[in-house]
């Protein structure tokens, strides 16, 4: 059965990308333990509205932990205290009566605040556009079973492919690096036979686009801890290896041209 919590919230409010932000202190009474974290914010927002205060803007959509839209810093941790869990899947029973909870947006130079807790993560799309795909125009594909992929390779690829693109890795990183996000896409595509023809071009282009927007990786590993899909740091190792290879291979190819 649901119990009720009395909470003190400190919620980041910011009018727009260029405005100065500040914390709003809210006494959140009678929050049911069965509510999800976002449902708790729904309740708070309904009460703010009743009091004539504009509700807090936060991004969310599927509330099943798969679309990657939601993402908050909860007491300084991306997606909050529960490992392997996106903000929408975090439930209030993980908190204690009387807790103070600080709620902030994902903070990174590449993720400017749109309003309140909502940030703009379009820089991720730029990384994918740089090469995060296999060129296979519709209609050109051979029969699916003509491409044999050992089960362990397919599973390894899937481990990386399940990234939801939420940006927690960037928010958790002291350098605001996007290595885990980029490595997840490279890991998904670079180990598959279909991904080989564009492997080196893809790696170089994606890594260098990433560096235009995000900081550099210094192997803290905070990204993995914050990741709701618990994507392995091994993929960053793979990214680094492929990037070095790509630089030499691509230079050699360029000199032959």
């Amino acid at each position: 059965m649901s119990r009720m919590l009395q909470l003190k919230l400190r919620i980041w409010r910011q009018g727009g990308p260029a405005s100065r932000g500040s914390f709003l202190d809210v006494d959140a009474h009678d929050i049911p333990t069965d509510a999800s974290f976002l449902e708790m914010l729904d309740i708070v927002n309904e009460r703010l509205l009743e009091d004539g205060i504009e509700p807090v803007v936060f991004a969310h959509d599927c509330r099943e932990g798969i679309c990657g839209t939601c993402g908050l810093m909860i007491n300084g941790r991306a997606h909050g205290p529960e490992l392997g869990t996106a903000t929408c899947q975090l439930h209030m029973r993980k908190f204690k009566d009387g807790d103070e909870i600080v709620i902030e947006p994902f903070r990174a130079a590449a993720f400017p605040v749109v309003r309140d807790l909502m940030v703009d993560r379009r820089a991720f799309d730029r990384i994918i556009e740089a090469g995060g795909y296999i060129s296979a125009p519709t209609g050109t594909a051979p029969d699916a079973n003509e491409i044999l992929i050992p089960k362990d390779v397919a599973d390894f690829s899937m481990d990386a492919a399940q990234c939801i693109g939420c940006g927690a890795c960037v928010a958790a990183c002291p350098n605001s690096a996007a290595q885990l996000f980029t490595a997840a896409k490279l890991g998904h595509l670079n180990v598959l036979p279909q991904g080989q023809p564009e492997r080196w071009r893809r790696t170089e282009a994606m890594v260098e686009t990433m560096e235009q927007y995000f900081g550099s990786c210094t192997n803290h590993g905070e990204c993995h801890t914050a990741c709701p899909k618990e994507i392995s740091l091994d993929f960053i190792a793979l990214l680094n290896r492929d990037y070095i290879k790509a630089k030499t291979k691509n230079r050699r190819l360029a000199s032959q041209a």
Binding site: L49, G52, E64, D125, A136, P150
Partner: protein, 637 residues
């Protein structure tokens, strides 16, 4: 009156004949056309990428901050294809037959046959893109049986098939963005479709980040905007799924077909309280091993593990010995409602039934169950705080998918020339009930393999025509209307929130037009909805400004459209004096309590034509003819 433009000839040759007979646009001329695509889910992203590869200029619109977040991403189970890789007797004809039967004979044969034909191409296409489908040790693709199908034709990527297929389509789209053939407009809510001289020529959006209203012009407009399950407030859809673009198209003249056909998915986590914002689906695959029951005695409140075998009512196994817990979705859902309505429900709110894994855990061990369903069990525990390895899950049906949608002809064109509808937002392929693992198939079939061909037939006639300029009166009138409508909400200054009204609407529509319907209830809803709508319009409270990100303002337009759709949905349910698939009229059931169709009077598509705000829509009927599938009473005993 409605011309579905179904090609002549034997069903197996229709699509090939049609592809040959429709007009083509020369490859060099394709770059002279601009196509606007609304929505970037499976249908929208695959269509936008495929048309761009052909050479068309594509502008894609999504209300998300990235195309990758469309709700197709949440599909768990899999995608069907008639590959017959399992050597178990599958074929194009069998998939076609199963889909028409599963839809309770209310879909169009020619469209479904085409869907089955291209299903195999979809798997090839997705594998080539690098979708990491499940594999056997030899490296070949794995399959499973799904949703009660008697062959194994479902391809899957763990429990995240929709995610992986969508990322495949999103990546194809990203490749075309890089090639300069697609422009993606993020955070854009499409609030009107612009029609000039009877043809679709553009759309009007509100930028959800800045509040700005803008118009875009193109030679054709494609809607790939998903379904309208959120009319129920609580559904398995994402929070922002809405009917707005489709509804605005309807108000501009596109007929809306079969709005009463809604799929209620049997295995969702029951609502726990008023604060509940959405319902979470647990994959249907759980029914392969879980046994569904409630205590025989409604007053039996013992903890489930203490209830003796004899005191458990395994109602599906008792009623349907052949299919048992694997009966189709509509049948499983209705039976759950029946026992809960009798007061036999379980859980603190008595609003669920048990899905019990103790037998399979005892037989195969916890480890085997963990390997099969571990991620689902974890998700259940995260949401409910209960451990399903120890106590049975509690489940209850929830609205999941809408078979109805914009009426389209064989080319997927709506009744407005130049306006197309693909994926869940059209009505065409699933009849009155959709089979599991068929939604992904249809979205990708429309986007990769149907629309890119059929749109050429319309565009070929327009060669050399410039797009309508956005300062044309057709555009300026629409922009003004959108701005006025948006700003008006801020002047209402009422006392109750948008969510309050949305919840109230949901209660009415779930009560009277949900899993079962009857005349008295529908008539009651038809009285209550307009009253609620008027109150909502006069008393809703929206704060803030139209010139910034404002989530209440986003929602209020959507709920306003749901209010109108709800009324049409009820009217459609009232007019259809039969039961079929997801539409169960209590007055029309067999002696055993199954859906009783009336093929003599209702074997047609009900497409509703907008007239004006004060005059109800007019019914246009498209008769359904069945040449290849024999109409029978569905039986799962």
């Amino acid at each position: 009156m409605l011309d579905a433009k179904i090609p002549a000839g034997p069903i197996a040759e229709k699509w090939d004949n049609h592809k040959f007979s429709i007009k083509l646009v020369n490859p060099n001329n394709k770059r002279r056309f601009t196509v606007l695509v609304v929505g970037t889910g499976l249908a929208g992203a695959s269509a936008a990428a495929s048309m761009a590869e052909l050479g068309y200029n594509v502008e894609a619109f999504t209300f998300h901050d990235s195309p990758r977040r469309a709700h197709s991403i949440a599909a768990q189970g899999g995608i069907n294809a008639a590959k017959n890789y399992r050597n178990d007797g599958d074929s194009i004809f069998r998939l076609f037959y199963d889909t028409v039967k599963g839809g309770d004979y209310r879909s169009r044969e020619a469209n479904v046959y085409r869907l089955s034909q291209v299903s195999a191409n979809i798997i090839d296409q997705c594998a080539a893109q690098g979708v990491p489908f499940a594999r056997e040790y030899g490296g070949l693709l794995a399959n499973r049986s799904f949703g009660g199908a008697q062959v194994s034709r479902t391809f899957y990527a763990r429990g995240q098939t929709g995610q992986q297929l969508l990322l495949g389509a999103y990546q194809a789209l990203a490749g075309q963005v890089a090639a300069g053939k697609v422009t993606v407009h993020n955070n854009c809510d499409v609030l009107d479709i612009v029609v000039k001289d009877g043809e679709a020529c553009g759309l009007v959006i509100r930028d959800l980040m800045t509040g700005e209203t803008r118009a875009y012009s193109g030679h054709a407009v494609v809607l790939a905007t998903g379904g309208y399950s959120n009319v129920y407030y609580l559904s398995t859809n994402a929070m922002n799924c809405n009917v707005t673009a489709a509804w605005r198209a309807h108000r501009r003249g596109a007929a809306f077909a079969n709005p009463c056909y809604t799929q209620i998915h049997p295995t969702c986590i029951p609502a726990s309280d008023d604060f509940q914002s959405k319902l979470t689906l647990m994959s249907e695959s759980l029914r392969n091993d879980g046994r569904i029951w409630v205590p025989r005695d409604a007053k039996d409140t013992r903890s489930p593990e203490l209830v003796d075998e004899a005191d458990r009512y395994y109602y599906l196994e008792e009623k349907y010995p052949a299919f048992g817990n694997l009966v189709p979705r509509d049948v499983a859902s209705r039976n759950a409602k029946t026992v809960v309505d009798k007061g036999m429900g379980v859980g603190p709110s008595r609003n669920g039934v048990y899905l019990d894994f103790s037998d399979v855990i005892a037989a195969d061990g916890e480890q085997v169950v963990r390997e099969k369903y571990g991620n689902l069990f974890d998700m259940y525990e995260r949401i409910t705080g209960e451990n399903p390895y120890r106590v049975p899950m509690r489940i209850y049906p929830a609205t999941h998918y809408t078979m109805g949608g914009l009426w389209v002809d064989y080319n997927l064109m709506t009744t407005i020339p130049g306006l197309y509808a693909i994926g869940e937002c059209n009505f065409s392929d699933h009849g009155a009930n959709r089979l599991g693992a068929s939604a992904l198939m249809q979205g990708l079939a429309d986007g990769y393999f149907v629309l890119p061909y059929t749109i050429g037939d319309y565009l070929a006639e327009k060669l050399g025509d410039p797009v309508v300029p956005t300062d044309d009166p057709a555009f300026t009138e629409s922009v003004t209307a959108v701005e006025d409508r948006t700003r008006r909400w801020l002047t209402v200054k009422g006392s109750l929130t948008v969510d309050h009204y949305h919840r109230e609407l949901g209660k009415i529509i779930w009560e009277y037009c949900g899993m079962t319907r009857n005349r008295a209830g529908l008539e009651k809803a038809l009285n209550e909805i307009p009253v609620l709508r008027e109150e909502f319009r006069a008393n809703v409270k929206v704060l803030g400004s139209a010139d910034t990100a404002n989530q209440s303002l986003e929602k209020v337009n959507r709920v306003d459209d749901f209010m109108e759709l709800a009324e049409l949905k009820v009217r459609d349910a009232l007019h259809r004096e039969e039961s079929c698939g997801g539409h169960f009229r209590e007055e029309h059931q067999t002696e055993e309590g199954e859906a009783q169709r009336d093929d003599g009077n209702f074997a047609y598509v009900a497409a509703w034509q907008w007239q004006n705000p004060d005059k109800p829509q007019k019914l246009l009927a498209e008769p359904l003819e069945f040449e290849y599938v024999k109409l029978t009473q569905r039986s799962y005993k």
